[in-house]
Subunit: 342 residues, 2 copies
């Protein structure tokens, strides 16, 4: 059996990774249709020896598709995911539009695959930092019972899109030539700087990005009492988000067992040998499917606490990879039916 | 009254800032003597229209000095601070060699100036991240009673010295030319990367830098029960350290009052207006005497908790400025006597 798959937002940073991962992982595609806004329609996109003409993402574009992965921003998803669902095309949505909708499952396949079973045509993909953080926290939660955590993120510029990644590179090229730097994607210069501001601010002083870490973690883990406080910071790194976490658990934490459950978890790679200076770094986890977990130690501030450092490719596990894994789960669990048997 | 002042480690990154700050702040100097290892002796150092020939830092070099500020690493301080003290020259030491020595005061002049009174010839200057963190935490501690905190640092490369700063610049210039990058000051490439490793690792999994945050905070605040867990990370920023902090207090925290006590504290500048996208950033706090505090919000994970973001020039408040402030305190409180009245 193979499926007609659409990518909405095919010209963006995540869209490019989706094309790559669907092929790399041999997703059973009868056809791949690339969709984008009217502005990008008509563009040609190539991957290895294949090429596609981008089509406009209209409601009717979903008539013949079985699965559509959305990565074109919240307003496109709000408009078009229900149109896709209505037409029998399952929408896997990478935006935040439907994540907290109680009728929409929010799925990380290594954590809560069963949640996908109740989908009504839309499945949400989590926020990038949340997905990466949970690759370290989930196996520990299962073993010790996560009570609360504090986190500080170090978010790569590509999390803000391809143009933001180009902005950091342009600023550094200008600097190397002794020319002035300009900013348009970020509110301030990001080269040689840090911007403690990702997504919009809420009245409580947290950003929307920081709220996502708490609310999405609660939903994915099925743990409404979980407490979390996060500071999200943009750093001059091209790719892969890093997160420093201090976590408190219900039960006493044995460090050797903590390392063991992380190393056994399919979403994580334990890189934790300080004597050999081995710990996860963004350069090492760019283009890796697993997220790196290291710097694990008994926390000196929290009871039953553990401090750790998690690094993951936010374009992959934080976006495109998780979405493709959801599509694979739909196929494996027969949660999608092809309209035409090819 | 004016004093004969020595700088040990005059050729380093902090040494250069010491020369600048002693002049800028009109420290009452009868003479400034620049000292360094035998390797650097004979070099000429200039500041504006003045120049000095660097002399070798021998025990006898302190015979005629009243105050010597040390910034040449732990082993130089271990050897020479006692020699200076023995010769009636007060040593202000920027290394970690004497910080936890119970007979040596560890002083941040805005916090514990009285501790300097008991000096026996050596006064220690705190670790850079600790000094910066306390510029936000101390006024809050005084008001609400600090119980514990978790912190994640974003440490600029100049904290590892002038050569480390040059290494980041060299890597980025090589990258801009399409040439390979090389690393020698840091264990891995720092351009476009993060290294969660500052100073040596201890058996408990924390680094020495992370231990300093806990132990030095306890000593400076006179608060042996304080708990803290820190993750120290090197980031591709040239100057000024940033720290994301989640702090828990004994008493309930009123956010308006928290902002007020920070804004009234002489070591801090409140930059906290998220509606106008105003928060402290390293580019804005390089070459500033005060440390920036912002992103203040009631913590969603800790009881009586506050989350905040602190940024400060680690070459200044984290090193040279705090040392000069200690020298000023010695003069103001008559804790040093000039050998010769000039």
């Amino acid at each position: 059996m193979s499926y007609r798959v659409g990518i909405v937002g095919a010209t963006g940073a995540v869209g490019q990774e989706l094309i790559d991962l669907l092929h790399r992982r041999n997703f059973p595609m009868a056809e791949l249709v690339l969709l984008a806004s009217s502005r990008s329609a008509g563009k040609t996109i190539t991957w290895q020896d294949k090429s596609w003409t981008v089509q406009e993402a209209t409601p009717e574009a979903f008539d013949d598709l079985d699965i559509a992965i959305f990565s074109a921003g919240g307003s496109t998803s709000t408009d078009l995911c229900p149109e896709a669902a209505k037409r029998g095309c399952v929408a896997v949505d990478n935006s935040s539009a439907f994540r907290m909708d109680p009728t929409v499952p929010l799925v990380v396949p290594e954590i809560n695959p069963a949640a996908a079973r109740s989908h009504q045509g839309i499945i949400a993909n989590p926020n990038c930092s949340t997905a990466v953080a949970l690759m370290g926290l989930y196996p520990l939660h299962r073993e010790f019972g996560l009570k609360r955590f504090t986190a500080a993120t170090y978010q790569a510029v590509s999390g803000a899109g391809a143009a933001a990644m180009a902005e950091l590179e342009d600023q550094l090229r200008a600097w190397a030539k002794g020319e002035p730097m300009t900013s348009s994607e970020f509110p301030y210069q990001i080269a040689f700087n840090l911007i403690p501001h990702v997504d919009v601010f809420y009245d409580d002083g947290y950003t929307k990005e920081e709220h996502k870490m708490l609310n999405e973690s609660r939903k994915i883990l099925g743990h409404p009492e979980l407490r979390a406080s996060t500071t999200c910071v943009r750093v001059p790194v091209l790719r892969a988000h890093s997160i420093a976490v201090n976590a408190e658990f219900e039960r006493p934490v044995d460090l050797a067992r903590a390392r063991e459950v992380v190393s056994l978890f399919e979403g994580a790679e334990l890189v934790d040998d300080t004597a050999s200076k081995r710990y996860p770094m963004p350069l090492d986890f760019s283009g890796k499917e697993k997220c790196g977990v290291g710097r694990m130690r008994i926390d000196s501030a929290l009871d039953n606490g553990l401090a750790l450092w998690i690094v993951g490719d936010q374009l992959w596990k934080g976006a495109a990879l998780n979405a493709v894994q959801i599509a694979e789960l739909l196929v494996a669990d027969k949660l999608v039916t092809p309209k035409t048997t090819v």
